[in-house]
Symmetry: C2
Subunit: 410 residues, 2 copies
């Protein structure tokens, strides 16, 4: 650690990058962000935000040359360009988590293949490229299945539940139009789920590995809706989840954060390809679903629920401090509820009116991301509540959110 401020470069200027920047400022780091959008949320809050295209190698090169360490707030970046740009620098800064991690996790097929090769539990899957191969693979895999694009999908985009030939035909048409004839998809066993959970792991360059408490998540139409902590799962299930999350981070050699989403089910898939590590008391099975090498939407709850937030934890690793051990604060429960653009559309306003929140004293924070232009299902903010039980915290969060989603003046 030299006697100078460390400069951290963040690729992406959305809400995750912005909150990370503020945690880094608290540790006296300098922070620069890079985003192709001139109206990226970070521009309203952080001074040093460079607007540049991902394929503008000159601009990226100037940006990265200033950094002591580089990180990113989302996975959909062309690592090829980043590698070229970094290789051309006289002393390229490290990227945490590494570009190898990013290469694996930005592609659904590579992610699934990693899980399989590492012997980590995952839902049975198959993959196909283009219509002809998909027809053959689909018939071998059998209906029903979830079909997901291998690249670029998030928040339920590019995902289809396929129950038969007709649905497959329609989905193929959509993919050929949006991606082209070479579209690449992963087919997954659609298990009946008892619960969805996530665990965020922190890992520093020495290999020290810690984790946040396990969160319980509910999705709506493919988008995270609500996160509860503590998760309403048996202690043994939480332990298995935390241990699998740490193991996954070690296998990937992550430095920084790894967010791991899990499926919990009582019905293991019967298809080949699924690998169940342990059958837990009560006949539950746990599968790794998705991985993200960065702060996670579900982790917003840590800002109030934990001794260290996900942003503080990553900031510490980026400035060279050891991985902290976050713990849940108090004996109560916390709920994070996303505020999607639908709330703005319900009010019929561009600036959300928050006066209804005054009737909700369980509220610990409301954060609006400052995005321009409300759209349905777009993540525009979140709120966090406290309750004597997970149900009480969730009910308070849902009530607070409902009170906002009313026509203005109503």
């Amino acid at each position: 650690m030299s006697d100078a401020r460390r400069r951290v470069a963040i690729l992406g200027g959305g809400q995750l990058g912005t909150m990370l920047a503020e945690a880094l400022f608290d540790l006296d780091a300098d922070v620069s962000l890079y985003d192709p959008h001139a109206d990226a949320p970070a521009r309203r809050r952080v001074p040093d935000v460079v607007t540049g295209r991902w394929d503008d190698r000159a601009a990226l090169g100037r940006f990265l040359a200033r950094a002591d360490v580089v990180t990113y707030e989302f996975e959909h970046i062309e690592t090829r360009w980043l590698r070229d740009v970094l290789a051309a620098l006289p002393s390229p800064p490290p990227v945490w988590p590494s570009l190898d991690v990013l290469d694996t996790l930005r592609c659904r097929l590579a992610e699934k293949t990693f899980l399989r090769d590492a012997g980590l539990p995952h839902v049975a899957f198959a993959h196909a490229r283009g219509r002809a191969e998909l027809d053959a693979v689909a018939h071998a895999f059998g209906y029903p299945f979830l079909m997901k694009t291998s690249r670029g999908g998030y928040d339920g985009k590019g995902q289809f539940l396929i129950r038969g030939d007709e649905a497959l035909e329609v989905a193929c048409g959509t993919l050929e139009t949006s991606i082209g004839p070479d579209f690449e998809v992963v087919l997954e066993d659609p298990l009946p789920l008892e619960a969805e959970a996530s665990a965020i792991v922190i890992r520093d360059p020495s290999g020290a590995t810690t984790h946040f408490p396990v969160f319980e998540n509910t999705h709506a139409a493919g988008v995270l809706d609500v996160t509860l902590v503590p998760a309403r799962l048996p202690e043994e299930v939480n332990r298995v989840i935390a241990s699998l999350a740490e193991e996954t981070a070690r296998r990937l050699d992550v430095v920084g954060l790894l967010s791991v989403e899990f499926f919990v089910t009582r019905t293991p898939g019967s298809r080949r390809g699924g690998h169940v590590v342990s059958t837990i008391n009560g006949g539950r099975h746990v599968y790794v679903n998705e991985l993200a090498p960065r702060p996670h939407n579900s982790g917003h709850v840590t800002r109030r629920a934990c001794s260290v937030s996900q942003f503080d934890a990553l900031a510490r690793v980026l400035v060279g401090l050891p991985a902290p051990t976050p713990r849940l604060l108090g004996t109560d429960a916390y709920c994070m509820a996303n505020l999607l653009g639908d709330v703005w559309l319900a009010q019929g306003r561009s600036a959300l009116d928050l006066r209804a929140l005054d009737a909700h004293p369980e509220l610990l924070e409301v954060v609006l991301y400052g995005k321009e232009g409300a759209k349905a299902r777009r993540k525009m903010g979140h709120l966090v509540t406290l309750g004597a039980s997970p149900e009480a915290a969730r009910d308070a969060a849902l009530a607070a959110r409902r009170s906002l989603a009313r026509p203005f003046g109503g």
Copy 2:
């Protein structure tokens, strides 16, 4: 509330203005700050920071003309200039708290006079201008006394404990050199204190008035050292303090925050001029000491200890939301300890090395303000800890701070 982002102008770009700006961003407000120093802490963290002198009426005018509402993070501003600049604007924005409040609280004599006229409890005082008047007033008031400059003093600056003629002579010389022959001072009864406390009041334009839990404060050499919450005072004393703080805010007609510092003593002063509202069970007396119409150093503890922080509370009022009712979170205690420049000087580094904090899991936050140039007694950051009791929280904070204040590499 119109359907557009509210723009809040903050006078002063120190740590208080910066943290307020971030709370305002969370509510989707636009924020501009104004500070005469090109290296003000806000410049590293907030995009829209104007560097301009307080007496540059053109620059101030352009700055204020853009605002929907104006506030300030410190009191030592010439309200005369502000009034002139605002009067020249076609539609001047409101200043919260008002410039009348600021006029009263930026001058120690006006503040004391307000307390006396309002019948609020305060320590006996006298005032004098220049050496000749001071000699006469000092002899009438009697030794010992605390002597404080009427304007511009903070963090113990411009304060003297005067025990006799000789000390008075020396202090007069210092004041004549630093201020001039017309120096103005307030003399105060130096009571033996059982405790110091503070209470932060929130008041919105409708007159709705709420308060934070009472904090217990310890000062070292005139600078706030440690804040504990809950305060280790009988419940009845806390109630009197909270009630006096709210009453003070109502009498001043504050919109925004009023931070009220209190003395708690078992020995009421015998001099005339002190007004004791109530003798509390156990023979305790409570006096209002100082007032600040803004977030307060002691209030940093609210960022982790309370359901709403002092910055969130002020931000809500500034964007037109009702005064929230903050509450203490959990059943444990919290301690805020200031990090003064001395810690940097002890390490012998300009960028503080935080690795020693890893051994202190009770730590909930460490915030470095990003100030350039460590000086002894300069407020450069703070930390907040959690403990099962106020003593445990304080011991954890002091241990964490001690672990930082060691030579680098030691």
